[in-house]
């Protein structure tokens, strides 16, 4: 089932000899600044990549399409359609006629070539051009993968382009683990599934015989924590992505455990444990199995998430009477409330950069995904609907994916993503319904 992942090798060969020209002009590099204010996407052109071996034509066309979908999908770039192009790129090494690309107002130009090597592997190389300055941006690069990994090659190219044009770290070559949903609300079947960030290459990790909830990637993307009812009660399970083997994470019976998440170093798992009517947050050292209770008291404490430095935990508690967000030291101890707006706050997730917390807010019959600074200031709501929840951060902290359930008897759940600016809200294309996404690391 997961053989593609195990066999996938990507070699970054970098710097195509003889092709790297010098960009020594004393000029600002082509750059799009990602700010609250950016509303005008940067126009770019990506002519079909050149097929350098006879059998690479189809791959060259598809690969350059995916690069374009990645870039345009951010909302930061606008592709100039190919039927508007004046010239074509017939050879990867030929000089670029910049005037032809200036004439259609392409600020950036991406050229590429695809071939199949002697072992049947796909080789892609690309170059990024600043059309108006007439220079190459960064070095040309070359990536190689087995044929079933061709989409990752496209994401690698798009990641390079995104990083060079925004100055930000990228996120396209990443995967998302989520719950695939089918069937009506009162008989919904749920399975764990994994996919590329854009909804492609969905693979199922569990059957639908037991309810599964809220999978969470390990920091390196090799393991997934999730909650399963397979034993009859909700319990934290852990699954190896490589061989799809899973086990109950913690063997205690008779109590419920759920809402697990890894520490940034992957050595500790925090989760909620229910004893009687009370739900508290616990931590378990994976190597030794030693557990430690982090919260005490009769209120509900759940949905814990570590800060990226591993020193603090943000979580939700109804100790004040309604669900609110709190931050405590990773070892437990005094917690500070950070949410003070109207309504209830839940499912906090610390941002990869450490400066913000994403959350679900419930107020006046509506649900929102929002972000706030870790001291609770600068709260901004990014979405509004009948039911939005379970935010997860892209590896670069620029985009949030979440689940949205529609209203009524025909209600269904789907995955959406939105920029932390609040723009570019869009549905993630999955074959069935989806919920509880967890965005993995850049690969």
């Amino acid at each position: 089932m997961m053989r593609r992942l195990a066999s996938l090798l990507i070699a970054v060969l970098a710097l195509i000899g003889g092709l790297a020209p010098l960009a020594v002009m004393a000029q600002e590099p082509l750059r799009i600044e990602i700010t609250e204010g950016v509303v005008e996407p940067m126009p770019y052109a990506i002519p079909a990549f050149v097929a350098e071996t006879p059998d690479a034509g189809q791959l060259a066309a598809e690969l350059s399409r995916v690069v374009a979908e990645d870039l345009t999908g951010t909302g930061l770039f606008r592709e100039i359609p190919r039927d508007a192009h004046i010239s074509t790129i017939a050879s990867f090494g030929a000089p670029v006629p910049f005037a032809d690309w200036k004439a259609i107002n392409a600020q950036a130009l991406i050229t590429g070539a695809v071939s199949l090597d002697g072992a049947g592997r796909v080789v892609v190389k690309f170059r990024l051009w600043d059309v108006f300055a007439g220079v190459e941006l960064g070095d040309g690069m070359q990536f190689t993968a087995t044929q079933d990994g061709w989409r990752r090659l496209a994401h690698k190219v798009a990641d390079q382009v995104y990083a060079r044009l925004t100055g930000e770290s990228p996120y396209f070559d990443s995967r998302v683990v989520f719950v695939s949903e089918t069937g009506p609300k009162n008989a919904r079947a749920k399975r764990l599934a994994i996919m590329d960030y854009d909804g492609a290459n969905v693979q199922y990790l569990t059957g639908s015989d037991a309810i599964v909830l809220a999978p969470r990637f390990s920091p390196n993307g090799e393991r997934v924590l999730y909650t399963s009812y397979a034993t009859g009660t909700p319990r934290v399970h852990v699954l190896n992505v490589g061989d799809v083997q899973s086990r109950v994470f913690q063997a205690d019976q008779g109590v419920m455990s759920f809402a697990p998440r890894f520490s940034p170093d992957g050595r500790t798992v925090i989760y909620s444990l229910t004893n009687g009517s009370n739900t508290d947050i616990w931590a378990m050292d994976i190597a030794s199995g030693a557990v430690r209770q982090l919260t005490f008291g009769p209120s509900i404490e759940t949905a814990p998430s570590y800060s990226p430095d591993g020193r603090q935990i943000v979580f939700e508690s109804d100790r004040s009477g309604t669900q609110q967000l709190y931050i405590m030291p990773a070892q437990g101890g005094e917690a500070t409330r950070i949410s003070f707006g109207d309504g209830r706050y839940g499912t906090p997730v610390w941002s990869p950069r450490g400066d913000q917390v994403a959350f679900t807010k419930q107020n006046a019959g509506r649900f929102h995904i929002g972000v706030m600074r870790t001291d609770g200031s600068e709260e901004r709501l990014l979405t509004a609907s009948f039911l939005d929840e379970s935010p997860t951060w892209a590896p670069n902290g620029r985009v949030i994916m979440f689940s949205r359930e529609t209203q009524g008897a025909q209600g269904a759940s789907a995955l959406y993503s939105v920029d932390i600016s609040g723009r570019n809200l869009k549905r993630v294309r999955t074959p069935a319904g989806g919920s509880d996404p967890s965005w993995g690391p850049l690969q």
Partner: protein, 173 residues
């Protein structure tokens, strides 16, 4: 009033069940072909007419109670139903029960699991306070994962904010 009426009826039924087993279906009831001890009583063992059956428990005693939004406190009506559940469990001591806690869809997933646990636990504590041994009871929360009604208005939500007492045959507890 319907709850009250139902409660009175079932208390009466429980009081009578041990000795009378009235032949409510007249001559026709035994004609279903069921052999064995039940023939002549007119009650098909295991059916909803059999006061010792889980089907009777769920349909006549009442297997579920309902909660207010975000609450786990037991209403007076809920307590009446649970009194009858406790009585039934004490009378039919071979059975075990799993108490399921549920929430409506207006809430985040993890919180609703914890809320469902609070509800199920409130039921469990009440049943044990009425003498049902805790060893015969377990609870589980489904959060908002298993609604019975699927519309997105209060009439459906009210039926989904529930606990359900599910009876199973014990193993000689």
């Amino acid at each position: 009033m319907t709850h009250m009426t139902k409660a009175i009826l079932l208390i009466a039924a429980l009081a009578m069940s041990a000795c009378t087993n009235a032949d409510r279906f007249g001559d026709g009831a035994g004609a279903g072909g069921d052999a064995g001890a039940a023939v002549g009583t007119g009650i098909i063992p295991g059916s909803a007419n059999d006061p010792t059956s889980p089907a009777y428990f769920s349909q006549t005693v009442g297997d579920r109670i309902f909660f207010a939004v975000d609450q786990s406190t037991l209403s007076p009506e809920a307590r009446l139903t649970l009194d009858a559940q406790a009585q039934w469990l004490l009378t039919n001591s071979d059975f075990l029960a799993v108490i399921e806690g549920h929430a409506d869809e207006q809430g985040t997933r993890e919180y609703n699991i914890a809320l469902g646990a609070r509800r199920a636990n409130a039921v469990m504590e009440y049943l044990t306070s009425r003498g049902v041994p805790a060893s015969r009871l377990k609870f589980i929360s489904y959060g908002k994962e298993r609604p019975v009604e699927i519309c997105s208005v209060e009439s459906c939500y009210a039926k989904n904010r529930r606990s359900v007492t599910v009876i199973s045959m014990g193993s000689g507890v």
